[in-house]
């Protein structure tokens, strides 16, 4: 056991961690978070400053444009001193400037995929392959009316390497979602020296 609760039980040694759930709009991120969270999914309206405008313009504008970005998140208490948070990424590409903040410190990431709209997840795959060090796995969220593809075909279509685990799930089922999270952590362990 790598820890012990502090003697007085004052919780000083409590620690938290997070896993990020990414993927295109409507792929089931909110559903996924909700199916494993012990609390109703929370949504933080993060007030963000738009950085899309050229810097020169910002210098001249009295007020920067601010926008609220809704981020879903849930919580799983793993033991009395360890809380795991799940954060769903805001789906719209124009909010990507905040991803660095969102994924900072994440143990791992899950990219959800809908096989009817594979390309929706390309931006997320690109982000985790090229722009950050967080280990990620792919989870195909199998919708009822979607064709079922062999996972190796999905891998080919997504052009991700053989080292990236791909699993199936139904985001509405807590058991499935927990299984996906377990895979994500196992993968993180495998790539951690």
């Amino acid at each position: 056991m790598g820890y012990r609760p502090s003697p007085e039980g004052d919780g000083a040694s409590a620690i938290s961690a997070k896993i990020v759930i990414a993927g295109g709009f409507g792929v089931g991120k909110t559903t996924f978070v909700g199916s494993v969270s012990e609390v109703p999914t929370l949504s933080t309206e993060a007030l963000m400053t738009e950085v899309s405008a050229p810097v020169d313009d910002l210098e001249e504008t009295p007020d920067k444009t601010t926008t609220t970005v809704a981020m879903d998140f849930g919580r799983i208490t793993l033991d009395s001193e360890l809380v795991l948070y799940l954060f769903g990424t805001p789906g719209q590409p124009r909010f990507w400037f905040m991803w660095d903040d969102l994924v900072r410190g994440a143990l791992g990431a899950v990219i959800l995929v809908d096989t009817r709209r594979l390309s929706d997840c390309f931006p997320a795959v690109n982000y985790f392959e090229n722009d950050c060090d967080v280990p990620f796995i792919i989870a195909v969220n199998q919708f009822d009316d979607a064709p079922v593809y062999p996972l190796e075909e999905v891998r080919e279509a997504l052009a991700v390497g053989p080292n990236v685990p791909i699993v199936n799930c139904d985001a509405r089922e807590g058991v499935d979602a927990r299984g996906v999270l377990t895979e994500a952590i196992k993968h993180a362990l495998a790539v951690t020296g």
Binding site: L82, V83, A106, R178
Partner: protein
Amino acid sequence: MTNNSRKSARVRPYLVTGGRTRSRRPLLLETLISVVEFDPALEKTLIPESWRIYELCRSRQSVAEISTRLKLPLGVVRVLVCDLSDQGRVRVHATSIDSEQDQRDLLERVLRGLQTIS
């Protein structure tokens, strides 16, 4: 430098603490905050937003939860929590990127946790 000072003037509401140098744990979205020892007298000395954060954190919660429950922007929560922490009023808990945290230990503990709960 002129440009920089103009910029910082504009965002001053979010930087109310000025440029003090501190060594501290980073405030990630998931960083847990808890009150060390609740002191009701602080209501008179803290600004209202800080007081609300302080009260809420009598039960341990993350930066993201504070932001959501109090409907305060994340940036504001971070600054005010920082101040409360500097004053020794709240505890900023460890996360995966804490320097003392062994990454492998944490991953294994999370894995055990996920496999245990149902």
